[in-house]
Symmetry: C2
Subunit: 313 residues, 2 copies
């Protein structure tokens, strides 16, 4: 027998396989409901990629037992009004706005216009603030679960599927001992994701184009929630010491340098562009998830069900 | 709410909890057998600790449906003859010799005197050589499983229980991406353990009093079995980069320096002496297994059942 193996040992895991458990749970729940919940999508940017994503959300929502209604808003300036209409309509259970619209701070403002009771994306300030402070419920009685931002939540579910969360550890500490590098620090994914993983016990290097920050709960998980400090290491040093590399750079050109990846690391990309070199990453990673969109949509619909539960309490 | 948690998040896992699954499997198997298998223990060293261990093996064996017979050999020189007697006796199914006897190379010789068909400890050269070469069966037809040395095997089972083995990866690659430091390179535990873990995909720093070696299967697990190279790093550097620290130093005085342990690492001690400072290690490790003796005995009895299966093919 030869001493060399020919097959590359990396597991490439498609998002569909990870999403399956959740789509089945969702289907079982909607099957028991006496009327279908309605999700409204608001599209105001005329971007073909956003339109694709919108139609994809629609198909998935319909196939899982929801009604999906896409409203195309002809002018950006009319979007705010449409959001308020959907907020007030008794026929609408959940709202998703396809960003970017203005592509600046106004988008953040628009996101906050969505009623907290219909915010399936989990981007309402209250939800995001709860997440940063590791508060899991909306009420003192712990009957209403706080909604989590759906893309960061999808990454968490991907990590759970991959066995990175250790279920033997206490809930909330299950990433203790894991080091993660995240390339993206956007307000809707990168920063909340870093906070979520650090709150679960990980040491997270959060990198954006300007600098790198460390999110962590201190020695021995001393802190209840993460704190953030500046990192003096380079991306290469951070990545080489990381068990998990997560990328979300919205650029066709960007590729994470394969030579920065530690042998046997777990690589996950949440950008709609492939941030890893598909061929090269397989030679060094132990597990690789090239795209997570299907898990994100499952989380969005799961949030819709959860919002419904919160209302019925 | 205070930002600091008071409870230390480390999980201390007793060996009894890990052993339970195996002892129950063993009990279920012995319950189905028409006669009890007999395990013979040969004690020739007069060491009170060995006598304790022997009586403990006996109690466990009896409680799990075996017959256990302890033979105390009054003179070291008579041990070899007793081993051959047990080899030849149709009433004996498994043999365990309590080492050290001479405390030198003669012990290795004596271990090889035990019949391969009755070697519950898995220390026969054939078994050990198969293990180093990652060969899992004794025959070409793959009907007879090769026996694994029981203490290294117990450590593997501990790591499986702790969720360190990732079951999503292919069998044989499940430690890919994990770095392990082992302090002990004895022929009966440390070296086979390093080989086993490296064969399963880990990068292993194997430290003894003289030097440190690296056991690994190369970039991308290129090799079918591990190779060994010298390590130029210090124990501190190795340990600080390790997800798992395993100690087996047979000394009351020895304590692994807590400051070498990476935050959130997994710590396991297989020595009968506690090699970690119980209090301190809990402040930095995510999981800690202070002793593994009960798992080792379970593996020994499991090997006895496996030897029986191999004979009946």
């Amino acid at each position: 027998m030869s001493a060399e193996t020919s097959a590359v040992p990396c597991k490439v895991v498609p998002a569909s396989r990870i999403a399956k458990k959740y789509t089945e749970e969702i289907k079982a729940q909607t099957a028991k409901m006496d009327h279908k919940l309605t999700l409204v999508g608001l599209l105001a940017n005329g971007d073909p990629a956003a339109k694709m994503y919108a139609s994809w959300t629609g198909k998935t929502a319909n196939s899982l037992g929801f009604d999906y209604k896409l409203i195309e808003v002809p002018q950006k300036d009319l979007l705010e009004e449409e959001i308020y209409k959907a907020n007030d309509s008794a026929d609408v259970d959940g709202i998703i706005v396809y960003f970017p619209v203005f592509g600046d701070r106004q988008d953040q403002y628009l996101q906050q216009c969505v009623s907290i009771d219909k915010d399936v994306e989990g981007l309402n300030f209250k939800y995001v603030s709860n997440m940063y402070h590791n508060i899991r419920f909306l009420d003192q009685e712990h009957t209403k679960k706080s909604i989590l931002p759906c893309t960061p939540l999808a990454v968490v579910k991907v990590l759970e599927y991959l066995g990175v969360y250790n279920t033997l550890l206490d809930y909330g500490n299950r990433l203790y001992g894991k080091t993660v590098t995240i390339v993206n620090r956007s307000e809707i994914v990168g920063r909340p994701l870093a906070a979520l993983l650090a709150n679960d016990g990980a040491t997270v290097y959060s990198a954006d184009i300007n600098d790198i920050q460390i999110y962590e709960r201190g020695d021995g998980l001393r802190l209840r929630q993460h704190h953030v400090t500046d990192c003096t290491k380079t991306l290469e040093q951070c990545a080489k010491g990381s068990d998990i590399i997560i990328t979300g750079v919205p650029s066709k050109q960007y590729k994470f340098p394969t030579e920065y990846i530690k042998r046997g690391a777990v690589c996950i990309n949440f950008s709609s562009e492939k941030n890893f070199d598909d061929e090269a990453v397989r030679k060094v990673a132990s597990m690789y998830v090239p795209m997570i969109g299907k898990v994100t949509i499952a989380m969005l619909l799961r949030n819709l069900l959860r919002l419904r539960e919160n209302r019925s309490e």
